[in-house]
């Protein structure tokens, strides 16, 4: 094991590097928070305006009753699959290269879920009554309708959010203890409370490892079920091109796909602005890029499958929507989606020379755009061309929806920036794994050992 020690960054160096953002604050941080905060406030104002003036200021109309808001809902729940799922799988297979990646991934899950879960409330006609989805014992003995996929959504998202926050919090405990031991005053009290009395005894390490293992196993089926249930919101309704048995796995694959893309972008930004070049190596991006490539192929397979079956089935109502996306009104968006989600990642991630950090980021930005379009193209064209030609309609998003959509991206960035400010964004104890008396863990990846396999 002694040879392993020399391969790793010195613990003191790790702490200095990773605690720097917590202890030092530059004017850049304040201005960034100010700008992002202003956009979030604008979005909240837009929402308040919508509640005051009426839902009519949005572009929602008869018969297209779901638009940008539900698109954003599915998109953000999809992004949330980056973290916990990927990190849980990488933990279970004990991939050594995961070490610096897991926490930035898990944070995405927690925040993207919180933002995604806002949208079912934002899109409600009467959001002040959203609590009727809770199965609370009301004096009128009315329960929510457990047959409704929206109620399933409510439970699935809450379960996933609770699980992800726990999964994120557990490995932060030893790091909180490190901050506690180096801080003074108010900061010491706060981090002391968060560290839950961590002393680093062998029993505590053992319990932490066990809890992590249990959570990693438990969170995977929850993550898969969440996006399957989100897909049920569509596939359970008799709408052309919505009623599809493939939607469950199709949505889960798309979610993981966009999640990896989101993670790559977040990691690249962290690497650049927090100067984490020593910890986030090109090899991490390459590995995630390979995952992205695999998911792009899987996504392409699902889209091909969905489209071909529809085309071959040739039902009148289905074909209305099919041609609308394939060749008519929505064709520019559709082919942009195919380019962003399939062609772009295939070319950039498929050719190893392009699989650099910049290449990964370009492909990921494409995938994020493409996956947002995918959700939009599932929802809007189908609702606009539902069976009776008399009631066909065209959806035009209005400023309030656009502002709220932009606001959620700012909210995500703001939450992420604040998190990176208050918590070491890379798990310090996992990087220096051999320093504690836990089970023998595989050391982190280095340039010579890209997958972090046992070096000895």
């Amino acid at each position: 094991m002694s040879s392993v020690g020399t391969m790793q960054p010195v613990p003191d160096q790790v702490r200095a590097d990773l605690l720097r953002p917590l202890l030092r604050t530059s004017w850049k941080f304040y201005s960034l928070v100010l700008i992002l905060g202003a956009i979030v406030v604008a979005a909240l104002t837009a929402w308040a305006t919508q509640m005051t003036l009426g839902f009519g200021i949005s572009g929602i109309r008869w018969p297209i009753y779901w638009g940008f808001y539900v698109t954003n809902f599915v998109f953000w729940i999809g992004i949330s699959h980056a973290g916990t799922l990927i990190s849980a799988i990488l933990r279970l297979v004990n991939a050594g290269w995961r070490r610096p990646v897991t926490r930035c991934a898990e944070v995405i899950t927690a925040f993207a879920l919180m933002i995604g879960a806002m949208f079912p409330i934002i899109h409600l006609g009467r959001p002040w009554l959203a609590f009727w989805l809770f199965p609370y014992p009301s004096e009128r003995m009315i329960w929510p309708n457990f047959r409704s996929p929206l109620v399933w959504d409510f439970f699935a998202i809450n379960t996933y959010l609770t699980g992800s926050v726990l999964f994120l919090f557990l490995p932060m405990i030893p790091d909180f203890a490190v901050v506690r031991d180096r801080a003074t005053g108010m900061r010491r009290r706060i981090y002391g409370a968060l560290a839950l009395g961590w002393r680093g005894t062998p029993t505590q390490w053992h319990r932490l490892e066990t809890a992590m293992q249990i959570m990693a196993v438990a969170i995977i089926p929850v993550a898969v079920s969440v996006h399957t249930i989100v897909s049920f919101d569509f596939s359970m309704a008799p709408v052309p091109l919505w009623q599809s048995t493939i939607f469950g796995p199709y949505f889960v694959a798309g979610a993981i796909f966009s999640g990896i893309a989101g993670l790559i972008i977040a990691m690249a930004l962290l690497r650049r602005f927090l100067h984490l070049e020593r910890y986030l190596h090109p090899v991490h991006f390459q590995n995630l890029g390979k995952l992205l490539l695999m998911m792009a192929l899987l996504w392409g397979y699902f889209v091909f499958n969905e489209r071909l079956v529809t085309y071959y089935g040739n039902r009148v109502s289905d074909m209305q929507v099919f041609w609308r996306t394939q060749r008519l009104t929505f064709a520019p968006l559709y082919w942009t989606m195919v380019g962003c989600n399939f062609v772009l990642p295939l070319v950039i991630m498929g050719i190893s020379r392009f699989r650099t950090i910049t290449g990964c980021v370009i492909a990921s930005i494409g995938v994020v755009i493409g996956m947002w379009l995918e959700r939009f193209l599932i929802i809007v064209p189908a609702l606009g061309h539902k069976y009776l030609p008399y009631s066909f309609g065209v959806y035009r998003p209005q400023p309030v929806e656009i502002v709220i959509t932009i606001g959620t991206f700012a909210a995500m960035a703001l939450l992420y920036v604040l998190f990176a400010k208050f918590v070491p964004i890379i798990s310090m104890w996992e990087l220096t794994a051999v320093q504690h008396p836990g089970p023998a863990l595989i050391p982190p990846a280095t340039a010579e050992h890209p997958l972090g396999e046992t070096h000895a």
Binding site: G54, I64, G125, R126, P144, R147, M236, L388, Y390, S391
Partner: protein
């Protein structure tokens, strides 16, 4: 035996005059939204007259089809509602409880007929229309879904009256506003569980068909139209 309310619409009689639409607005306190909002898809016509052209030029026929809530026995709008605002009554009506509606609009997406309408704004009427509101029908606030009820207030009032007089309901005694108004008597309302009623007789007619019947929604509105060999 419980009632099962149904309707028949004779397309060979319908002239597309739109009196049913006007009567429905007046009876059910459906607010008007103005031309601008109507163009943006915010008009709420619980019953609408769809116009279709049939045949090739010069042998072209115009066909009108009044479309209202089909009060499906297997309604897609009901299971998707998370709060039971959309639910089935014992007499087969597809009820919408405005007070329970939180406005997910899922029911309207699930409805293949697009006969459910969302209140985008609080209701308002151009003067003097605000003086003719029907006291038997509740107003709907912003953010809820509304739709055709088969004039449930008239069904209930007539049933209560019959009970007070200790007699059975007579066929044709209940008339929703659209049925009462139709100058061509193209619309017929009645009890589908009574095999002798006019609406049951029409539902069995060889001219009859259901709208989007292949979706399996079991609608309770029968459309009657002369059948021709294609």
């Amino acid at each position: 035996m419980a009632h099962k309310w149904g309707m028949a619409a004779d397309l060979d009689r319908c002239t597309g005059c739109g009196a049913c639409v006007t009567a429905c607005h007046a009876e059910n306190n459906i607010s008007t939204v103005g031309a601008e909002q109507a163009a943006r898809g915010r008009a709420k016509h619980w019953i609408r007259v769809e116009r279709y052209w049939e045949g090739e030029f010069p042998d072209v026929h115009m066909k009108f089809r009044p479309v209202m809530c089909q009060q499906c026995d297997n309604a897609p709008c009901e299971p998707v509602c998370p709060t039971y605002a959309s639910h089935h009554t014992p007499d087969g009506l597809n009820a919408q409880v405005y007070n329970r509606c939180i406005g997910t609009r899922y029911c309207a997406n699930a409805c293949p007929y697009n006969v459910r309408f969302f209140d985008f704004f609080n209701p308002s009427w151009e003067k003097p229309l605000h003086l003719q509101l029907n006291p038997d029908v509740s107003l709907r606030e912003v953010g809820v879904m509304e739709k055709c009820t088969f004039c449930v207030q008239r069904i209930k009032a007539t049933a209560i009256q019959a009970e007070a007089e200790n007699r059975e309901l007579k066929d044709g005694e209940i008339k929703p506003a659209c049925v009462q108004t139709c100058p061509a008597t193209a619309l017929v309302f009645g009890d589908l569980n009574d095999p002798g009623s006019e609406v049951s007789r029409l539902a069995r007619s060889p001219r009859g068909s259901k709208l989007l019947e292949d979706l399996g929604t079991l609608p309770k509105v029968t459309y009657l139209s002369k059948q021709t060999q294609p």
